[in-house]
């Protein structure tokens, strides 16, 4: 894509080693910064984005024009206060908003496509650490992430324990469950079943990739981000722009119309191959496995303060997953807080207005 998607791009000076044993040469990290970095570079907060998120945490998305995905949380005098902290958010490698991913051009002059190496959450974090090195930030005031962002925060804490003084993990998990993997596999199969996917080699001049497949993947995933209660409240069994059922396969129900809209909107801003690679990275994620099977060992001797937040209607990464991490941190006597907040929007609750979440985030980062 010719359009400049990021205001800042950092080229990782050395080849980035990957968990697969491969490496990524000349990898680029696109990032945004909000607020001023202090002279001693001690006030940086790294925000890690979720699966389909990007670096535009508190500024308008260049394609959709929508406000930043956590605009309500990040900004001057907001819970993550950019008058006080320098907030950094980078597009993860494997993604498609300016950082190196499958649609980037490989050394042979053609897009990587499926030649892009399979990456892990730890590889993404390795890229972020390289960016911190490049910016001269030795230790973050804090690392913050929801969902896949929380996985990155945990991975940073486990693998680079001196790089963050505070670790805030929201609606996340230390490992992908069978159910998590299953839903992702549905999405991947939908993409790969679309003839336009063409084994991932679809980056032609016409720009038409497997949009139908990607839309279905997004629709299926989107259901997992919501709660039954939230869906019922928002849509019930109400019909869309009609008085009676059509006895056909139009989007009769409002919920169908909503999902189709979510699916097609998503294809405008996201690359299908990136979706394959990032979901794979999440499925491979299991911090305990990286550490020989015991989650507590991942955090042994850490001096960081941790805070975990879950939502009672989140069935994608339910409270039990956060507790699992909390118990591991307890076992290592780490400084940890945990609270389960009540909200009816399911997994997506972390992105929506929630006064208690605001107070927890602000209090934890300022404390």
């Amino acid at each position: 894509m010719a359009r400049k998607l990021a205001s800042n791009t950092f080229v990782i000076p050395a080849a980035l080693p990957l968990d697969s044993g491969q490496s990524l040469a000349d990898a680029e990290i696109a990032y945004e910064m909000y607020g001023e970095l202090s002279a001693d570079k001690s006030n940086a907060i790294l925000i890690c984005h979720a699966l389909t998120g990007d670096q535009y945490v508190a500024s308008a998305h260049p394609i959709t024009g929508k406000p930043g995905w956590w605009d309500r949380m990040v900004g001057p005098r907001k819970p993550i206060n950019t008058d006080r902290y320098c907030v950094l958010c980078a597009n993860v490698i494997g993604s498609c908003m300016g950082s190196t991913g499958p649609k980037s051009i490989a050394p042979d002059g053609k897009p990587y496509g499926m030649r892009f190496p399979v990456i892990t959450i730890r590889d993404m974090v390795r890229g972020l650490v390289a960016l911190l090195d490049g910016l001269g930030i030795e230790q973050l005031h804090g690392v913050v992430g929801g969902s896949m962002g929380g996985m990155q925060a945990l991975s940073l804490a486990a693998n680079w324990p001196d790089r963050a003084r505070r670790v805030l993990v929201i609606a996340s998990t230390a490992r992908h469950s069978a159910q998590n993997i299953a839903f992702h596999e549905v999405g991947r199969q939908a993409i790969m079943a679309d003839p336009a996917w063409a084994d991932g080699d679809y980056y032609g001049d016409d720009g038409n990739g497997p949009e139908a497949g990607l839309a279905v993947a997004r629709m299926a995933a989107h259901i997992t981000y919501l709660s039954e209660e939230g869906l019922t409240e928002k849509f019930g069994r109400r019909l869309q722009d009609r008085d009676s059922k059509s006895f056909g396969f139009d989007a009769d129900f409002q919920v169908e119309s909503y999902l189709r809209y979510q699916g097609s909107g998503f294809t405008q801003r996201f690359d299908a191959n990136s979706y394959l690679y990032i979901t794979r990275a999440m499925d491979y994620f299991d911090i305990a496995e990286e550490q020989g099977g015991k989650l507590a060992d991942a955090f042994a001797g850490t001096s960081a303060r941790f805070c975990l937040v879950s939502f009672d209607t989140d069935w994608l990464y339910p409270t039990a997953e956060s507790r699992h991490v909390v118990h591991a941190l307890n076992a290592t006597s780490a400084k940890v807080s945990f609270v389960e907040l009540s909200a009816n929007a399911g997994h997506d609750s972390f992105l929506l207005p929630h006064d208690q979440l605001d107070r927890v985030v602000e209090g934890f980062l300022n404390g």
């Binding site: 303060r305 805070c307 507790r323 909390v326 118990h327 307890n330 076992a331 006597s333 400084k335 940890v336 807080s337 945990f338 609270v339 389960e340 907040l341 009540s342 208690q356 107070r359 927890v360 602000e362 209090g363 934890f364 300022n366 404390g367």
Partner: protein
Amino acid sequence: MTPPTTFGLRADLAAIAQVVKSRSRVLDVGCGNGDLMEALEMHKMCEARGIEIAPELVEKCVARGLSVVQSNADRDLANYPDKAFDYTILSQTLQTADRPDQMLDEMLRVGKRAIISFPNFAHWRTRTALFFGGRMPVTRALPVSWYETRNIHHVTVEDFLTLAKNKRARIERAWYFADDAPISRLVANWRAEYAMFELSR
């Protein structure tokens, strides 16, 4: 014990704060809004952790910069390693535990010392209310009606001393309070509104 410093705390919490040695590692089980934890961190340079079951109180603690886990102590103390803390503290909460005897075991396993305080059900006001009134007492120390109280295991000073003995818990020190002032062991079982023990094993 004379209370020269209260750290701005409720009297029973101030009594605990005075007992805890400076720079200790402390686990406050049922830490409420975190008043005691904050005082211990500020005035005694302790490293304090808390467990609290009510999410709205946990949120207050986290917003104060305290490390508090929303958790059910009856179940989740099991996740802490042996002797992970210099002190475990159970303030006015023993009588709400599912199994106070098992709670005592866990407090002594996780902490080198346990500080446990509880309202004394054998206080003369409670006895009077039950004896003359024929009803479950509602007193200053036990202010909630029988049907909504979380105090499901009422305990007296003598009961606790027996439990400690049966559990082979050593009572290092004991304090008894009436009207927020210390009173003698000799009259404690009928005059103490609440009691406080420092135990080890």
